[in-house]
Amino acid sequence: MSFSEELALSLLDRGLTLGAKYVEVRFQDDYGYGVSLRNNKLMSVGVTRTRGVGIRVIVDGSLGFAATNSLSIEDLYKAVDKAFTRAKATARLRKNPIEFSEEKPGRAKYRVVEKEQLMDFKIEDAISTLSGIYKSVEGEIKEAKLVSMVESLSVHIQEKMIMTSEGGYVESRIPRLFISIGSTLIYGGRSIQRFKEFGASGGWELIDEWRPEQVVLSDLKNLEKVLVKGTAPPSDKVDVVLGPEVVGLIAHESSGHPMEADRILGREAAQAGESYVKPEMIGRRKIGNQHATVIEDPTIPGSYGFYLYDDECIRARPRYLYKEGLINEPLHNRHTAWIFKTSSNGAARAMNYALEPIIRMSNTYIAPGDLSFEELIEDIELGIYVKSYMEWNIDDARWNQRYVGLEAYVIRGGELAEPVLNPVLEFTTEWFYSNIVGKDRNLEFHPRTCGKGEPSQGVPVWFGGPNVRLGKMRVGVLK
């Protein structure tokens, strides 16, 4: 890092001298590179760097944010001044002053260790990794036709140095690796498309751990069977079992997002929406049964959403969003914590220097059970198992949601049977969490980029869970 502590201190001083009640200076450097291939042919190599300073101030109860990627002292002072003057200009429109909860700010330095350095600029290795995945699949899809495979691999190093006028100081370095494989299979007049993703914090050693060649091959061979042999799902109400990828997505969408306190309070009302959760429901309202425990934990080592201190210098910890069905603990930053008269639980994240820290998820999952998968489905006479998905959405209150399966099977006599094409599941948040009848012990995580905020910022997250068995429901078909 070339941004010094002295420089940060001088910016804090300038903000305080102008009259700000609170000043926060975040130097952030996001850099890396990526390659993309189409059908094993190189499309592009890209190198990116986003590096600058984001400054927040509170003045007259108004919050101001300014960012610049010039590190000259003049431009940095100008950014402090802009944050201050524009916050002050809009202060007269405020009715409720912005305040932060009282906290003991963190002072720490930490970094995720890469066993094999990502920035050794292994572009040839990156291409070779993706090429290996394509080659592993190419000759193996025999009945359907693999008409396209678009692959990308990206390396992202995120370095932050944050100082606050209240004594917070956090320096961090988090390296991340991400692979995405998008495939199109065609058979007869039908087609199926799939994105398979791998992501975590760490170094090149993650490739060995992920075994992407085997995983993608297995995934696509299964999808080939679905495409060639898949039929419509049973039309009667049946038991439904969802795989960890689908369960994780549901946890993210219907417990993570509605439990973001800024969303509960309406700060994202005109963008990502609000929440069915109202402040008075917290700690009182049951949304599910005893199986419905959802955990949000930034501190999982090696996770894609890993961090130890948030961007307000608050120490991270696991949060139990839903606890045995009870709406339990929202994700807070210092502002929402102040409104809720509690303490921040360290959920403020910014994806680059130019974006304000807002409440974000990290790694969200449904707590696993203790059954094996075989035990989970053994007494199902007729059901459906949905292992992966493509289309999904949820309303802006996080209540009414839809998931369309990709790899899916009929369960018959307690065993997986014939494949099912495009099963459609629609339910409410309360129905899902109230109708969990069993969970196995196979906790899996999947990486995604979660979008929120204005300007929109995509942050790396994991979501996950075990295989989850639900009560009976009618499964729809794609029309």
Partner: protein, 440 residues
């Protein structure tokens, strides 16, 4: 040529076969609203630098939101060292003959700059016009941008363009009901900004009655916000790169083939100086031009840069993106329905005034669903019965486009969180559209 772009161009010439330098200088102010007051006032002073470097068919794209030429030059040196060990890019094509530099005029409004210093007056207009409709609270955002873009390349193209833009959107709440409206243009139009608040408030209070609706096929009228969102998705898929990788409905429906009804025409309009995506030249220095993507239901063009055009034996459409061609501004053709006649023209069905979370099951076939937000109205015999709550349109793009039976005369310049490519959009009436919601 700016000093920075000149330094970078000179430094790389001779080392690489081709060099392009694109520098964006942005000054932006955004005020976000929640509960009828600002949540944050944000300001940005940014210089973003992008380089396209080519050597022996190898193609590199470097993107820096950082003012650090030394770092950039070091990266370029590293790339040069490994150039021979990396295969050629299948999307490489030589930079085109440089066009004449003809930056657009009429895309810079000095008033934007003055409002950037104190945007509270414009924010007040949005709040007041919304509250005047009797709503409880309003949220939204106002963004004012002043930008300069400079492109130089080793073929001798050199041009810069100055532009301003204004994006305003509001979501008003009355009890459990809400309404939304949006606006995006290159200049400040106070009346249109007031209209953002007024229309959001009007739609939030258009009914106070809740009615039920069963899943099934309906005739559905969709607002310009919904049209803008859905046609944004459609236009992304019109990028030749998405066609090449198969994640596009235009990989199945090729130019010359019918994908929709006579009523559907979609244009890429970079020369429309009212819309904020206006651009006189693309990232390869090709002069932009307006073009149909779909005209009267027939696919006319997919969007190319020189790389995709070379790969697909076509010509650049002036839509570079060095890797991804993309649309600049979208315009959907108007029809002859009057906006106030939408309920009567619909007869019986639903009016969906806003949507979000559009996701596709299959880009090649175009299967998608999207969820309503804000008012979704049940209409019987031309009369509004009430709000049906949050429902979902679940269909495919070809089906939707083929089922357009009416288009409004009035169009609106829409730009907001769910419509990122500025779009001039009408109301549309669609028939036989699958509407779903959970039955458990």
């Amino acid at each position: 040529m700016s000093e920075l772009s000149g330094v970078l161009l000179k430094a790389q010439m001779g080392k690489f076969d081709e060099v392009s330098v694109l520098v964006e200088e942005n000054h932006r102010v955004m005020v976000k609203l929640w509960n009828t007051e600002p949540s944050v006032a944000q300001s940005w002073l940014e210089t973003n630098i992008h380089l396209r470097l080519a050597k022996s068919g190898r193609l590199w794209v470097l993107s820096y939101e950082a003012r650090d030429p030394v770092y950039i030059l070091k990266h370029a040196e590293n790339l040069l060292k490994i150039a021979d060990r990396v295969e050629q890019s299948e999307l490489y094509a030589p930079l085109p003959e440089p066009g004449v530099c003809k930056p657009l005029s009429g895309v810079y409004d000095g008033k934007v700059e003055s409002y950037m210093e104190d945007p509270s007056g414009l924010i007040g207009e949005i709040i007041d016009s919304s509250i005047s409709q009797g709503v409880d609270r309003v949220a939204g955002a106002l963004t004012l941008t002043k930008s300069k873009i400079t492109l130089v390349n080793s073929r001798g193209f050199e041009c810069e363009e100055y532009k301003t833009s204004v994006e305003a959107y509001a979501r008003a709440f009355k009890g459990d009901y809400s309404g939304h409206w949006a606006y995006g243009q290159t200049g400040v139009n106070i009346q249109a900004i007031r209209e953002v608040g007024r229309k959001a408030g009007y739609y939030a209070s258009i009914t106070s009655k809740r009615v039920d609706v069963s899943p099934g096929e309906y005739r559905v009228a969709v607002s310009p916000l919904v049209v803008g969102n859905l046609f944004n998705y459609l236009s992304f898929m019109s990028s030749a790169l998405y066609v090449l990788i198969g994640f596009s409905v235009f990989a199945k429906y090729r130019p010359g083939e019918k994908i929709g009804s006579e009523n559907v025409s979609l244009y890429d309009k970079p020369r429309d100086t009212m819309l904020p995506g206006a651009r006189g030249f693309d990232d390869e220095g090709v002069e932009t031009f307006d073009k149909p993507i779909i005209e009267h239901g027939v696919v006319k063009n997919i969007l190319h840069n020189t790389g995709t055009a070379s790969k697909m034996q076509a010509k650049s459409t002036g839509n570079a993106g060095w890797i991804y061609p993309s649309p600049w501004n979208l315009e959907i053709a108007s029809g002859d329905l009057k906006e106030e006649e939408i309920p009567s023209a619909l007869g019986s069905g639903l009016i969906i005034l806003n949507n979000w979370y559009t996701r596709l099951q299959n880009y090649y076939e175009g299967y998608f669903s999207t969820v309503s937000r804000d008012m979704a109205l049940l209409v019987k015999n031309g009369e509004i019965e009430g709000h049906v709550g949050r429902v979902r349109i679940a269909t495919s793009f070809p089906r939707l486009l083929n089922n357009v039976i009416g288009v409004s005369r009035e169009r609106y310049d829409i730009s907001w969180w769910e419509v990122r490519t500025p779009t001039r959009a009408p109301f549309m009436i669609l028939e036989n559209i699958q509407v779903t919601k959970p039955e458990v």
